[in-house]
Amino acid sequence: MTGTVLAALAAQAAPLLACALILIFLRGRPRVAAGTAIAALTVSFAAAAFLVWQVAVPNTAAVSQTLWLPVQGGAGLAFGVILDPLAVTMALVVAAITLAVMVYSTGYMRGDPGFARYFGFLALFGWAMLGLVLASNLLQLLVFWELVGLASFLLIGFWFEREAPAAAARKAFLMTRVGDVGFLLGVLLLIRALGVATIPDVLAAATSPAPGFTVPLVAFLLLMGVVGKSAQGPLFTWLPDAMEGPTPVSALLHSATMVAAGVFLVARLHPLFAAAPGVMQGLLWLALVTALASATMAMVANDIKRVLAYSSISQLSYMLMALAAGSVAAGFFHLTTHAGFKALLFLSSGIFIHHAHSNDMREIAGHEPLSQKAGVIGLVAGSLALAGVIPFAGYFSKEMVLGAMGEKVGGVVLALAYLGAGLTAYYTFRMVFLTLRGQTPRRPVARDIAPAAHAAGHEEHFPKAAEAAMAWPVLALAALTLVLGYLGGFFATRLSPALPHEGPFHVGGGALVALALVAAGIALAWYEFGRAGALRLGFAERVPALKSFFGDNWYLDRLYKATVIRWTLALSRAAKWNDHTVLDGASDGVAQGTVWGGRILSMVQNGFVQAYVAVAISVVAALGIWLTRTGGLP
């Protein structure tokens, strides 16, 4: 076993071990639990960094797996690791963000009664996500895919004693499940048709299709899972609700890593998807519509976490658009930078939320100014990166995405993608100005959103140690937003199909257009929210119809309530009636019949010997008469 394989196994084993230790032994010892989880993720982080150095830098690819369950004439069940630049880079991203979020959480979740459980779940997520990323085999990937969903469910519903998080957790689980059904079918179909499950073998076989194997169908089914997990198209409404979970969880799972699993899957199996151009065209349009739709929703949301959630959906759409346009490097580069700056944005918004005890940006603004500078720095740096301002990370990756799209698709799609970039800048800076420039005369704010999801019983005034625990990860990530952007060349040369890369500061015509749109978006945000005496009301919010349409997820939730949910409930009620009335009635009837039959028969045994004698004699007499009449023959 080589050192790289050993490192890959260690990266997965450490969080699993920590999770088991915490959930079994350390439930009552929060500090030890947090220490264990952080130590485990440090091991994973070191292992992932080693892997990047050993695998991604020299650009090698290898698969190492053992057959666990041989199947006669089939693929069998193998478990192992895949070590190529895509997998190990993603592993490093996951380990780094998880580690940062864990350190931050020691401050944010301080004093929560479920502190140890929280770290146990985070470790569970770390294991599942690293397992997903490094899986060498489609079945193995499926297992970890579902485990990641479980971790998401557990962490969204972390404050399960309140109604909203519990409902959000259920919604997230069920909506992603809709997509996962397709994913499962796709994987099974693929394995049955090709007879192999190891990812490189699958990709090799997919490009030279076997008889009875329809690539478009499989690609479509797999994309269903992607759409559910990465909150795209019709299945995205679970993600805004998932913000009911603790803020660090939103940073880790619901923007940086878990929701990117769908994007990662498309990158992982890209040759397979590329063999179905029609499906990819559909994905391109779906992602484009999702990107614009979620941008409009972010324009009217007042909950800072929901703004960030919508922007996550929008950015995931950009990644998928790049992949659909054929560029793995652009999509994955955007995934990496987005993981950094979106985690940063969530973590710094957590500092504000903790300070103001509210998610509402107007209330945060009305609250006394934050003494802690890390939050402000993080929010501004993250927003600049998200909006795509040069030289922050988001600029470079978005340029690469738009550039890749410009080469392959062009036309209306490209124009709309540029428009989306402008909208991104607008809603991002609407958030910044609403949050930071709110020292205008305080007026009572209508509470139309729930008060901040807060750790029960946390202390009013933070100890310095907790503040530092929250500040350092934010500052580290803020520094990263300035660094990550220069890694474009690294991705472009290591992920197939290779892209020509002109260096980070190549400014083409597209980049100028994008920068102009971004500047326009920021200027509009400044005019409406930032300048002194601004109305602090966006153009979309002034039209009541638009405000309610955008603010209500384009009425998709209402549509689901009126259709799918209603039908399901009706079906459930019918099933309940059938169960209670028909099935229970039948078994009750059998029981009652038996009881009554027993009562009637027990009357025969009345305790009078003479009655028995009379019956016996009568029977014998009847038998005798019958025998004499028929001669014993029937």
Partner: protein
């Protein structure tokens, strides 16, 4: 002698016994009625063996055995009644209904 006479007598005897068995509530009376029914059977056996042309002594032997068996049965029955009487101070069948369902 007509066989019908013997058979009719046996039937009468059996009927009387049956009536007594079903009608009387005392265990002793029921046992006596049972003996009457057994006697009817003996009469039938003796009559039928001698009247159908078989060896008549065969039926008589069976009748004698039946008398012996009846005596033994009566002895067992009476001792049971004594035991029952000791236990429940009654030999009335209507009160002996503990095995009722």
């Amino acid at each position: 002698m007509s066989p019908a006479l013997y058979l009719g007598f046996a039937t009468l005897l059996f009927g009387v016994g049956l009536y007594g068995l079903l009608q009387r509530r005392s265990l002793v009376a029921m046992l006596i009625s049972l003996e009457l029914m057994l006697a009817a059977v003996s009469v039938n056996v003796v009559a039928l063996t001698s009247l159908t042309g078989h060896d008549a002594s065969m039926g008589q032997v069976v009748a004698l055995i039946l008398v012996g068996v009846a005596a033994a049965e009566t002895a067992i029955g009476l001792s049971l009644f004594v035991a029952i009487h000791r236990a429940s101070h009654s030999i009335d069948v209507e009160t002996l209904s503990e095995l009722k369902g």
